[in-house]
């Protein structure tokens, strides 16, 4: 394992320290936690948004804390969801009395810890709602699907809605509608190494790739012979579209997300083909995101996310922050 770290146990706290030190005008942290909040939180009259999960997905989620986006991010250990008391600290720090929405990726650890935190917050008379993101179509049963890169689109759209002063119920409904219209699928060409274990999560030969990889270096659903970018993109886009109800004339947002160690050059090659494929089907791409939004340490590969846009989601996405 070759990593620019000081020690396995300090990784997360030192990252949090660095983030706050680098952006002191925008961010602060809560002492004795790995919680990052907007410097001006709680914002009066605004629904607060919190997301989080294991660390190692940067910029998600701490990189989305700011005006028009999240009010707080809770970072757990690398690839390990944060504990309920940490989430509770975040909730208490950002609630202005307008309520708090938790944006949770559908991983059992995340769901359980955020759930317990919501119970604890309710006991302190804070109104908390949750939206669970399940955008990964690699898993066939929709209930079991993981929350992956598309989660960041929920941050953006729900963030814009909250910034407009919408109520908790309204923000929750919008976040849920994004979640319901969001699909992703990933491919990995090489694994990542979780610092605590010191060894790669899986091994792949030179001519192999994993289709349907999660964002924790967990193996994909299928190991395949490496294909060229266009063929891989076609497969990912097809998988995603098969699970959506898009028509000729549908409007979408497209995200090509790098997993941490893939050059932008390659992501744009994928973007090129994805846009072409959607255009061929008469689908209008209103907004494209190419870059790293939800990474998996130094895994190589990418994911394709498509979000079906209605009028409101389009308005909020185009007016909001990224």
């Amino acid at each position: 394992m070759k990593k620019l770290i000081n020690g396995v146990d300090q990784i997360v706290s030192e990252m949090v320290e660095g983030l706050v030190a680098a952006h002191p005008d925008k961010l602060r942290s809560i002492e004795n936690t790995n919680v990052i909040v907007r410097a001006d939180a709680p914002v009066q009259g605004k629904v607060a948004l919190i997301s989080g999960g294991g660390s190692g997905h940067e910029p998600a989620h701490a990189g989305y804390v700011g005006e028009g986006l999240l009010d707080a991010a809770v970072s757990g250990e690398v690839f390990t969801s944060p504990t309920p008391d940490q989430v509770l600290e975040a909730i208490k720090a950002v609630d202005s009395g307008s309520g708090v929405l938790l944006i949770v990726k559908n991983y059992s650890g995340d769901v359980m810890n955020f759930d317990m935190a919501a119970d604890l917050a309710e006991a302190e008379d804070i109104t908390v709602k949750q939206v669970v993101i399940r955008d990964d179509v690699a898993i066939s049963n929709p209930e079991d699907r993981r929350g992956v890169a598309g989660t960041t689109l929920v941050h953006m759209i729900a963030g814009a809605a909250a910034a407009e002063g919408k109520s908790l119920d309204e923000v929750e409904a919008i976040a849920q509608s994004v979640a319901d219209n969001l699909r992703s699928m990933g491919v990995s060409l090489s694994p990542c190494t979780v610092p605590a274990s010191g060894k790669p999560g899986f091994t792949l030969d030179e001519n192999e790739m994993e289709i349907g990889t999660g964002i924790h270096g967990e193996q994909g659903v299928e190991r395949r012979e490496l294909m060229q970018a266009d063929a891989v993109t076609e497969e990912l886009v097809q998988h995603v579209l098969d699970d959506m109800h898009l028509n000729d004339g549908s409007e979408v947002a497209l995200m090509i997300n790098g997993q941490g160690a893939t050059p932008l050059m390659e992501l744009y090659i994928v973007a090129r083909k994805a846009i072409q494929l959607l255009k061929d089907r008469g689908i209008h791409v209103k907004k494209t995101f190419v870059g790293e939004y939800m990474t998996s340490l130094e895994m190589t590969g990418c994911s394709v996310t498509i979000l079906n846009l209605d009028k409101e989601r389009k308005r909020l996405l185009l007016s909001g922050r990224e």
Partner: protein
């Protein structure tokens, strides 16, 4: 079977020793079908439990295990924190106000723990999770009374049996058929919990 406050304290400390000893094995098992940090997380959490217990004296087993539970919930994270935390929290409720546990009282705690794990994790027997160990141990205790040594051997056998199962919950479930051939890490850490019980009971009883 009679378990004193002292033995119950030793149980938690011995679980910690086992987690430290088998940390790498637990992470290796997790790496095969999860993300490879189960050993690290359990070792970190139970070390905190040990620190807490060594610094505090208890007359009430319920109060002691409430501390075990809240330490695990606040230090472990992942799925293991809420699952083990909830298990010991429910057991602690059942053991509240007691300074010794007979077979029936201990079994009551284990029964409550299993209920907690089921509710929190929404898994069932056969899903290749820690419940594949806890449920048979509970059933045996309800049937024949609590026996630490029997619990340990059942736990070992049932953990072993998860190797051939297909995971239906947690990260391993994403692998489908590919999760076969590997022991569930949560089942193995649960095996260690009952092994620790058998050891401290034997030492305490002799």
């Amino acid at each position: 079977m009679e378990l004193s406050t002292a033995v119950m304290k030793q149980w938690a400390l011995r679980i910690n020793a086992k987690m430290q000893e088998h940390k790498d094995r637990l992470s290796e098992l997790d790496q095969a079908i999860g993300d490879g940090d189960h050993g690290h997380n359990m070792a970190r959490g139970f070390q905190e439990v040990a620190n807490k217990l060594e610094d505090t004296s208890y007359d009430d087993i319920g109060a002691m295990y409430k501390d075990v539970a809240s330490t695990l919930i606040s230090k472990v994270g992942g799925a293991s924190g809420p699952l083990y935390g909830t298990a010991f929290l429910k057991a602690a409720n059942a053991w509240k106000g007691r300074d010794a546990l007979d077979s029936a009282a201990f079994t009551e705690g284990i029964e409550a723990a299993v209920g907690g794990i089921e509710t929190r994790g929404k898994a069932s027997l056969g899903d290749k999770t820690m419940l594949d160990v806890w449920i048979p141990v509970r059933d045996e205790m309800k049937e024949d009374g609590a026996d630490a040594e029997k619990a340990a051997s059942t736990a070992e056998k049932e953990a072993e049996a998860t190797i051939d199962k297909v995971a239906k919950k947690g990260r391993a479930s994403y692998l489908g058929e590919r999760s076969k051939g590997h022991m569930d890490p949560g089942a193995f850490s649960s095996q260690l919990v009952f092994e620790a019980l058998a050891e401290v009971y034997k030492e305490g009883a002799s």
